[in-house]
């Protein structure tokens, strides 16, 4: 058999910058043939701008039920405030055209309590179809099919919307849905497979992406919001960045988010903060550490939103007397014992790296300095 294609990736060398992180951060080799858009989606047209919409009505008093009508109002007000339009549909039209193939990067990892909620995802799809994007051109996506199956978005969505996972489960058996021509190579801990590849869906099919993360604590990154959801949720082989109490997420989250075409295509961030998890994240199998911010944040700048998220999670932890996400005391570390971490919010399994948000800001993905972040708060 003769080669069907002959791709000279060396030709892409000018697009393959080497990121040398500060300190002892690893050296990254970024390989992609894609060029950035004239205005990359991150940080997009509204760098440093965050609209935060809060509604007491969006959840039942006990926080267990979501009110779809309240969510719809929050979404409308948030999008209008972000883009400055009288009508929400005009704001959506600023981002999407009927020709777009739109990916919605959900987060299904915090099931059942802290996932991208059906109501927000459905409202997002409704607005896209209102713009003229056909359901068949919309892809709800995650990395793992097992997680998507459990969350089960289909009943909330119009017929025709695609629900796509790159892998059946987190078992490293499925690589066909990752693009071998777009990857970041780094050797973190001597792992054999040193590449993380971008999903083909992202690199080859989608024209725009909406990122819908949650407000979550994270054992490795301190908090997981826009940046980690889009980065670790669009690439393969990322769990390798955590090892024996050490995490390389400080630099890797931003390094992945900055890879083209992911950076250019991710045009809208909608952070689902109806519910959040302040410890044990990114998982939320029980209500033990779940809290209820009753908030949705909107923006195009993932760094600015995540900078606010760090405080949301840390403040909630303080309220419960738990150690800060910034705590680097190795005495808190019990890296072999996830069970103890789940029992005790003062146990870490990894030294957290909330600095990943600033690092991503330094890569040009957004505004990290709180003094430069404009927050428009709306309370309904």
């Amino acid at each position: 058999m003769k080669r069907r294609t002959f791709v000279q990736l060396l030709a892409a060398t000018p697009l393959a910058p080497t990121i040398q992180a500060k300190g002892d951060a690893p050296k990254y080799k970024v390989v992609t043939p894609y060029k950035p858009a004239a205005m990359p989606g991150m940080p997009g047209p509204y760098p440093g701008k965050v609209v935060s919409v809060k509604s007491a009505k969006c959840l039942s008093e006990d926080g267990l039920k979501i009110d779809g009508e309240a969510v719809r109002e929050m979404m409308e007000r948030g999008m209008r405030a972000l883009a400055g339009d009288a009508k929400a549909i005009d704001s959506w039209r600023r981002f999407f055209t009927p020709d777009d193939v739109v990916g919605i990067k959900v987060n299904a990892g915090g099931r059942p309590w802290v996932v991208s909620s059906h109501e927000i995802v459905a409202e997002t799809v409704r607005n896209l179809t209102a713009v003229g994007v056909k359901p068949q051109q919309i892809y709800i996506y995650e990395r793992f099919q097992g997680q998507l199956d459990q969350v089960n978005y289909a009943p909330s969505l119009p017929e025709g919307v695609n629900i796509f996972a790159a892998e059946r489960a987190n078992a490293r058996n499925d690589n066909q849905n990752y693009d071998p021509h777009v990857y970041v190579e780094a050797d973190f801990f001597g792992e054999d497979d040193t590449r993380s590849n971008m999903m083909r869906l992202v690199s080859q099919k989608l024209t725009k992406i909406i990122n819908i993360p949650n407000m979550k604590d994270h054992g490795a990154t301190g908090a997981t919001g826009c940046l980690k959801n889009i980065a670790y949720g669009s690439f393969s082989n990322v769990a390798r960045t955590h090892n024996r109490g050490v995490s390389q997420t400080l630099s890797f989250v931003g390094a992945l988010a900055a890879v083209e075409p992911l950076r250019s295509k991710t045009v809208l961030q909608i952070m689902d903060g109806l519910r959040g998890v302040w410890h044990g994240g990114p998982f939320a199998p029980t209500l033990k550490y779940v809290f209820f911010p009753r908030t949705i944040m909107f923006g195009t700048d993932p760094v600015a939103i995540d900078r606010l998220l760090l405080d949301v999670i840390d403040d909630e932890r303080k309220r419960h007397g738990a150690i800060s996400i910034w705590n680097r005391d190795e005495k808190t570390l019990d890296f072999n014992n996830g069970g103890d971490r789940d029992k005790d919010p003062n146990v870490n399994i990894i030294i957290r790296e909330p600095g990943h948000v600033e690092y991503a800001g330094n890569l040009g993905l957004g505004v990290h300095d709180k003094r430069e972040i404009e927050v428009k708060e709306i309370e309904l």
Binding site: M1, K2, R3, N175, D192, D193
Partner: protein, 338 residues
């Protein structure tokens, strides 16, 4: 050499080495399209089970000495193998995932029981497997990939699968070339050096056993030397990692991406190469990515159970060839030509 002389040689070999001479004779008599070395199933049942073997397409077996003649009478090529034969041979591990070596590690590299390093350590060695159900095909593939002289005691329930693997091997084109290696290992026959070889093979760090440091290798390892103190080998995984760093990933003849459960053997003669992929996970792996040093223009892949698979997503530059194997069961063979 005249036919009579050949018979004499075999008789002498049989006199001194018994089974092995018989094996050599059998291989010499093998049809032209048969692989140069194929493992042998040990079949202890009587000749009344011949139909089952025929249905599986198996025509060559090792059998207890008292049954060998009957099997020959039934039309099989037979090597007589008594208990003494197995006592003499080195017993191999059942090829499989044996657990996770480091559960706390996010790299979560699974521990694999594999025998390739034993074959590489002792290419002239004689081995046998005693396999539980479900492992015959994998063991046949493993032994064949390393051109090893191995006899397999299998579970009768695996007969059809074993036969299918033999048929797959028989239909392979290409040849077994000399092993390609980046690392020379000077073997002091110690268990520590064996474990180092095991870990090198596990990481697809290609090595060959040499008597003295060989200039063609970037790295030569002699355990107990100043560069490689014996104490360091107490942690063979770390030791293998040290060797990997010393070699440099960019200088490796082979890189494997997208799996932690596939061990490869690469053979080649400079212009052609054969890459054998052994998947120990027990599950199909999709999209294994391979990078080989050298500019190969022609690549053919065959995967057991999947017939011919089309390598895809080629990247080729002056120094290396990259491609993906879309689907991989337990075994695939890739033939490459420059």
């Amino acid at each position: 050499m005249r036919p009579g002389a050949v018979a004499c040689v075999f008789a002498l070999m049989a006199l001194f080495t018994g089974f092995s001479a018989d094996r050599v004779r059998k291989q010499a008599a093998a049809p032209a399209d048969a692989p140069s070395t194929a493992p042998l199933i040990y079949w202890s049942a009587g000749v009344e089970t011949a139909e089952a073997l025929k249905r599986a397409g198996i025509e060559r077996i090792a059998a207890p000495p008292d049954k060998a003649e009957a099997w020959r009478g039934a039309g099989f090529k037979v090597v007589a193998a008594g208990q003494a034969e197995f006592d003499r041979r080195e017993k191999l591990l059942t090829p499989r995932i044996a657990g996770r070596a480091d559960v706390a590690s996010a790299t979560r590299r699974p521990w694999i029981d594999a025998n390739g390093w034993r074959f590489a350590r002792n290419p002239a060695g004689e081995f046998y497997y005693d396999l539980p159900q479900g492992k015959a095909a994998m063991a046949i593939a493993e032994a064949f990939a390393y051109n090893a002289d191995a006899v397999l005691k299998i579970d009768p329930a695996d007969l059809a699968e074993a036969g299918a693997m033999f048929a797959f091997i028989k239909n392979l084109t290409g040849e077994n070339y000399p092993p390609v290696a980046d690392i020379g290992v000077i073997d002091d026959k110690s268990p520590e050096t064996g474990e180092v070889m095991n870990l090198l093979a596990r990481r697809n760090l290609l090595f060959d056993v040499v008597a003295v440091p060989a200039p063609q290798f970037r790295v030569n390892i002699k355990l107990g030397s100043k560069e490689y103190p014996r104490a360091e080998a107490a942690n063979p995984s770390e030791f293998a990692q040290k060797i990997r760093r010393r070699l440099g990933d960019e200088n490796r003849s082979l890189r494997v991406y997208g799996t932690e459960t596939v061990i490869c053997r690469l053979t080649g003669d400079g212009a052609r190469a054969r890459l054998s992929l052994l998947n120990y996970s027990g599950r199909e792996v999709g999209g294994v990515r391979l990078r080989l040093r050298g500019n190969y223009g022609r690549v053919e892949a065959r995967a057991f159970g999947l017939a011919r698979v089309e390598p895809e997503d080629f990247v080729n530059d002056e120094t290396a060839t990259e491609f993906s194997v879309p689907r991989l069961g337990i075994y695939a063979v890739i033939e490459l030509k420059k």
